[in-house]
């Protein structure tokens, strides 16, 4: 049976998805070389060991974890709201083609505006607080999800809709049993595209406004010329991004195991 020991299969999926670890050589070599060459106390290029110390200092002073959790929570919450609203509106647009045609140019116009540019607008309208930060993340993350959902909803195969009619499904049942499952791969793709945008916008807000978060820590460290901490936090952000992406990839693989492999590979 194909689905016995599913956890083993998910693990194999992740392992297979990771390219050969040998590919990390350039990065490792860079760090090692940096470490060895920087013996002096350069304020601009501190060695990686100093980065670690800098981070530990931040952790001990009790500022690292709150910042990390603030950024993570904003990100996750923002994405969740974006998924709910984006999927909902996307389905509406996709299911009612006349609505979609009417709203089309407006959406195209709004889509052309890059999410980071909206941050100062939010700051102006909502001030310097957590609610504003969340709103911006939602606004930034919503577009890929909404657009992907609406296009997938429009593209539900007409035969499936015929089947729905032939079996006399109510409109609610049709949405629930046929359209919604059909758009799941598209929603996941939208989330995957929205993830990096959401991260960028979250950090941007934190850097601009110094609202609690990793970005705020970073800009604070830079203003105090604490270069080891700046580099350390940069690495931390990199690892954070990597973790988020991979966790999502596993989550996506688990969710998409019922779909034909063709759709699965499109999403990778």
């Amino acid at each position: 049976m194909m689905y016995s020991r599913p956890w083993r299969q998910y693990f194999m999926l992740v392992v297979e998805a990771l390219p050969s670890a040998r590919g990390l050589l350039p990065l490792v070599a860079l760090l090692v070389a940096w470490q060895l060459l920087q013996t002096g106390n350069s304020p601009y290029f501190p060695p990686p060991s100093d980065w670690w110390n800098g981070l530990m200092l931040l952790a001990k002073s009790g500022r690292l974890y709150p910042a990390l959790s603030a950024t993570t929570i904003t990100l996750l919450l923002g994405l969740a709201v974006a998924v709910i609203i984006g999927t909902g509106v996307g389905l509406l647009i996709g299911v009612f083609p006349r609505f979609s045609r009417a709203v089309g140019p407006l959406l195209e116009f709004l889509r052309a505006i890059p999410p980071p540019a909206v941050v100062p607008v939010a700051i102006l309208f909502m001030g310097y607080d957590e609610r504003m930060k969340l709103t911006v993340v939602v606004l930034a993350a919503i577009w890929p999800i909404l657009l992907n959902t609406s296009s997938a909803a429009e593209r539900v195969h007409p035969l499936l809709l015929d089947v729905a009619r032939s079996f006399r499904l109510s409109a609610v049942d049709r949405m629930r049993l046929i359209i919604l499952p059909s758009v799941v791969p598209a929603v996941l793709l939208g989330i995957r595209v929205a993830l990096p945008v959401a991260i960028v916008v979250t950090l941007l807000v934190e850097i601009l406004t110094s609202i609690e978060g990793i970005g705020a820590l970073m800009i604070g460290a830079q203003r105090n010329f604490q270069s080891p901490q700046v580099y350390g936090l940069l690495v931390l952000i990199g690892l954070f991004g990597l973790l988020v992406n991979n966790v999502f990839a596993v989550f996506e693989a688990i969710l998409l195991r019922r779909w034909p492999p063709k759709i699965q590979s499109e999403n990778f």
Binding site: V118, P120, L124, L204
Partner: protein
């Protein structure tokens, strides 16, 4: 019949909705219905445009951002394509570098801003630090993909005609890999604009990004929105320009048209 189809092709409901929303917005603000301190009417935004342009502020800001975009994008293209070819042609090189690329790719450009500020303070170089890496990835990844994706059949054709290594690269691999490379270049261009604006918001007080933040802090929402709309238009123009260029240079590549 011709006239009919042209008129029929315009999205009347869509345009109507667009215009209607604009008019409704205008009316709401003017009549006091939408009394929000920082929400300007569309007409105010238009006037804001005029103000910026007539004071000679808008043009230099646009120029600055475009220069930043041009430098960042050009470096990314050159690096991306050359590195991409190297990696695309050599499986060994790929094995020893793909993981690093995968690790670096999710790095948000904005996170490099504090580093850039640390090294270069408020300058164009800081913008470059923010822009370069993220803009590199689409071109690099697409070039690698394009080169490795060249169909085996084409190599067979090359061998049949006894093409040497150099000729194979120039006359088979390069043209075959062009469509994804051009798509990657187009994505990178859009990305370069966004990152330049971001960099100007946090790293270098100059250009359109700084304009947005400056007017926000000066509590001039009309000018702020004018800047934002400018960024939007430039993005559309750059994208359209790239599409037109691609079509002019490679008229046979249908994959380049349509789709984002």
């Amino acid at each position: 019949m011709h006239k009919n189809s042209f008129i029929a092709r315009i999205n009347w409901p869509g345009t109507a909705v667009f215009v209607f929303v604009g008019l409704a917005w205008e009316a709401a603000v003017r009549s006091g219905l939408l009394e929000y301190e920082y929400l300007p009417a569309p007409s105010a935004i238009g006037l804001g445009f005029g103000e910026l342009a007539s004071q000679g502020i808008l043009a230099p800001d646009i120029a600055h951002t475009l220069i930043s975009v041009a430098i960042g994008w050009t470096v990314a293209i050159v690096l991306g394509i050359s590195l991409g070819f190297l990696l695309g042609l050599s499986p060994t090189a790929r094995r020893y570098s793909l993981a690093s690329i995968e690790v670096l790719r999710p790095m948000p450009g904005v996170a490099f801003a504090p580093v850039g500020l640390l090294l270069f303070g408020f300058s164009l170089k800081t913008e470059m630090v923010v822009t370069i890496l993220p803009v590199l990835w689409p071109v690099l990844v697409n070039t690698i993909g394009g080169v490795t994706g060249v169909h085996q059949r084409l190599y067979d054709v090359g061998r049949t005609f006894r093409l040497g290594r150099k000729d194979t690269i120039l006359r088979i691999i390069l043209p075959a890999a062009m469509p994804p490379i051009v798509v990657g270049a187009r994505i990178s261009l859009g990305l370069a604009l966004v990152l330049a604006v971001v960099a100007e918001m946090v790293g270098n007080p100059d250009g359109l990004g700084y304009g947005i933040v400056r007017e926000q802090q000066a509590l001039r929402p009309d000018l702020m929105f004018a800047y934002i709309v400018t960024v939007g238009f430039i993005g559309i123009a750059l994208n359209a320009g790239m599409l037109a260029l691609a079509e002019a240079l490679f008229p046979s590549f249908r994959q380049l048209r349509g789709g984002q």
